[in-house]
Symmetry: C2
Subunit: 525 residues, 2 copies
């Protein structure tokens, strides 16, 4: 009897551990990392929800997050428990019913911000507080195991990102680049929170890349924030991370040069934290074009045999394909119709600028809009269709600049991108063939283009995405044909996930104040 009990405990303890290999296996029954898999493809092997059955989707449960106004979290799901975050809080819910299991609130954290979700590894679930603490909680009980402060708000730092669990590490980044905070990536021990390494995304004096900043800019500042999660290639042992705009945002006069590693994709050895290579999409950015859209890892035919590439739809309107081993630029194609800040991208990957599209004190109309043609809401990729599903905004803005001396940790009055009232934006879900860069189909959205949501792809041949009218939509992954939708009645600024509960496929997406979960209709027994 005692032996049996003891064996039962061991089994329970084993199943309670999320292993690195579990995350490596990619999304199936569980959804274990922000983008579903390390590749960032957000493609699930589940196929119960398919082109034939999607019409039978219906809400299974909703969960109201108290105090929430604008949920941006992508939950993780493990072992029937769904973990979702809001500003300084993490909610553990029964994924079958939405019933609350436990809630952790950090009452000490300063201020209130969006939060993009948790990470999970071992027996711990992790999230970041507004004031840059990485918090590790016991995933079953919500007990606080430790708190690790990894940056200081008095240096302009804040945090909104989903921590990224890789091997024995939790990778964290920072926000605050728009008010000057100097970007970094840090690897902390998943077990203890102790720091393994820091990589600065703005080089210090004397370091490679420092020559791309004019001498007036002190490198205590500079932006190039790392406010979203990244992706990872286990064979190459490389993290892929994108960086935000340089600071000051719209006025480039104080930071002549390319301003590395702002608006870049960086490849970083996950164990050493060393920069392996970098590629800068928008040198000397004056349009606030953070590179914060996902670097998605694909193995696709390229002039014959498959090649390891990383693709990246940039806020600047171009869809980039790079060799992910070397960082070699392979191609950039325009994925938005409204692009005029550059005439194109040259053979080396450098934008061919339209010089009259720079922000001016009086204002300059330029496209895409400051929100970008793409942004941080997740695209997805379906290996069966070979298509990349990208939420896209077609819009132009008036860009203005000011030559006032920039002050870190303050905004810039009178500068930025401003919407043109007579030119409302139009959103689309676009399917792009990454082998050619060509658009295969598009799904026009019908909302006000003020919200923005992501996508998830499934082996059922369905792409699920939020539209700008607050609907979760299921479309045929091959053709873009509408299959089903449900209106959440509020803006969606998050991305859907899919997983199994009791052997049945569910889809969850956060709307402004509620977590909505859908499944195929089955009459109660």
């Amino acid at each position: 009897m005692r032996l049996l009990l003891w064996m039962g405990l061991v089994a329970a303890a084993a199943s309670a551990q999320v292993k690195y290999d579990d995350i490596l296996a990619g999304p199936g029954a569980n959804w274990l990392t922000y983008a579903g898999s390390y590749s960032g493809q957000r493609h699930s092997s589940l196929n119960q929800i398919n082109t034939a059955t999607a019409k039978n989707l219906t809400p299974k449960w909703v969960y109201h997050v108290p105090d929430a106004k604008k949920l941006e979290a992508v939950p993780v799901v493990y072992d029937g428990i769904l973990y979702v975050t809001n500003s300084n809080q993490l909610h553990a819910l029964d994924a079958r019913t939405g019933r609350k299991i436990w809630v952790y609130r950090d009452e000490q954290a300063e201020g209130s911000r969006v939060n993009r979700g948790p990470a999970i590894l071992g027996d711990k679930v992790y999230f970041v507080t507004t004031d840059c603490h990485l918090v590790a909680l016991h995933r079953k009980t919500g007990a606080v195991l430790w708190h690790k402060k990894y940056a200081d708000t008095k240096d302009g730092y804040l945090a909104t990102m989903a921590p990224f669990a890789v091997k024995d590490k939790i990778i964290v980044g920072m926000g605050g680049g728009d008010s000057g905070a100097r970007g970094f990536l840090k690897a902390l021990s998943a077990e203890t929170g102790q720091e393994f390494w820091t990589l600065w995304t703005v080089p210090a004096k004397g370091e490679p890349g420092a020559e791309t900043w004019s001498k007036d800019v002190t490198l205590r500042w500079g932006g190039a924030a790392t406010w979203l999660s990244g992706t990872f290639d286990p064979a190459l042992n490389l993290l892929y991370w994108t960086t935000g705009n340089p600071w000051p945002d719209f006025y480039g006069g104080d930071r002549l040069g390319a301003n590395l590693y702002s608006d870049s994709l960086i490849a970083v050895d996950v164990d050493s934290g060393k920069l392996k290579w970098h590629f800068q999409f928008t040198p000397h950015d004056t349009h606030d074009w953070d590179a914060q859209s996902w670097p998605v890892l694909l193995d696709i035919p390229w002039d014959g045999p498959p090649r390891k590439v990383v693709v990246h739809p940039n806020r600047n309107g171009f869809f980039y394909v790079l060799d992910r081993v070397t960082g070699e630029f392979l191609r950039a194609t325009q994925f938005a119709d409204k692009v005029d800040w550059a005439k194109g991208i040259d053979a080396k990957g450098v934008p061919i600028l339209n010089p009259d599209k720079d922000p001016t004190p009086g204002g300059t109309r330029a496209c895409p809009a400051v929100r970008g043609a793409a942004n941080w809401m997740s695209p997805s990729y379906n290996p069966a269709t070979g298509l990349f599903y990208l939420p896209t905004l077609e819009q132009c803005d008036i860009y203005s600049s000011s030559a006032k001396e920039p002050k870190p940790m303050t905004g810039f009055a009178g500068t930025g991108g401003e919407q043109i009232p007579a030119e409302p934006g139009q959103m689309f879900l676009r399917a792009i063939d990454p082998r050619t860069g060509k658009r295969v189909w598009q799904y026009p959205m019908t909302g006000p283009a003020t919200a923005w949501a992501g996508t998830v792809s499934t082996a059922g041949g369905v792409v699920l995405f939020g539209d700008d009218a607050g609907h979760l939509v299921a479309a045929d992954a091959k053709t873009g044909k509408h299959l089903w939708h449900f209106g959440t009645s509020q803006n969606i600024t998050a991305s859907p996930i899919t997983y199994l509960v009791d052997g049945k496929q569910y889809v969850t997406i956060c709307s402004a104040t509620h977590v909505f979960t859908f499944g195929l209709f089955t009459p109660a027994e």
Copy 2:
């Protein structure tokens, strides 16, 4: 061509008119008045949702009411449009999809309060503002037709009730009795808002009933508020309305006597506004036992032949049956187990008091709790089962009083009913046979007993109700057996309605911030 168009317009204009006869017909395709019918039975003739199909209920749409925190509205539905209110706003929604058609916001109204719903008659939809304006809007366009101020906030008045449309009149009541405002009912013209009559629920000096107040109480005050809608017997031409507690609430020393017509049911001729009869449930109330639960009109066998009765589950724990022609007391039975303020009700309908249960400066434990064993959330009655469905709270409180001189329009510090931490409440849905007063079944709820929702009965043999855990529940009307539920994830303090859209039966209930609408699952074509 011109003739056809003209005929089409006439047909449209005719269908756009809600007639008194339509409301008289009771709830079927539409839901035209707060309680569904003038009888207050909240029993729908629809039967698509029945004991066999209820398990196939699923959310059809949700609608977020911006700024809402605690929706208490019961919508009305006509011609495919659902009208729902929140504080100083009325939303017209497409009942098929929840899509917003128009929203009216009264920006001038003072403060923010709950609102219990609209009324509809002719081409107008009506609601009350926080500051006692009756607003008439065109039901198709939301255009303001008129605003009629019918009470003044500087006299302590406020309004939260659903206006009651009868014949050519809109009946309105008032809130504010807890801070002393003198109760009234008013009949305004449905067409113009002009006043037909006012009936004061606290008599003036020299009027019948004035002798039930000690001379120290000026009758500019007194309470006996009329903050909920009423019911109506078209054959008798009588309105049935319940009144609130006398003021000051918990300290009776300044208002010796029975304090008519507080805590009463009054029968009022709808054309003249004359009081036909009254029955007082709780003379000289010191427990804040507003009579605000529905007076429901039934024709049931009583010692043989059917009798026209009115039944009323009172906050004080007793279920009353009165002759609704004469007001004759027929019987009161205890419907809550926890009742100790009175030992029973005598043959004349007068409570047999337990004198040691009066509030004291030091506090007295008494039952029911100050929230009442029943309250304003709607019960319902199914003529086929002969059962009355009553949400019930089992709870006791500590009642305290203070002999400080009361000041109108201010609260009383240190008096009232206070929850006993070690004795949480327990809620039930109870089915009572009004012919015997006996409990036939009960459905125990599992929530924290802090919210409170109403019920709707259907010819499908199903009773639908909100529980105290935020679920909409369908139960077998005969047995109380659970058939289905869906969790809205927030407190429900409103009552469900049911109606047809495109020939299919829907159920709608307001949760805290959202309107939820359910229907039977049918796969998309």
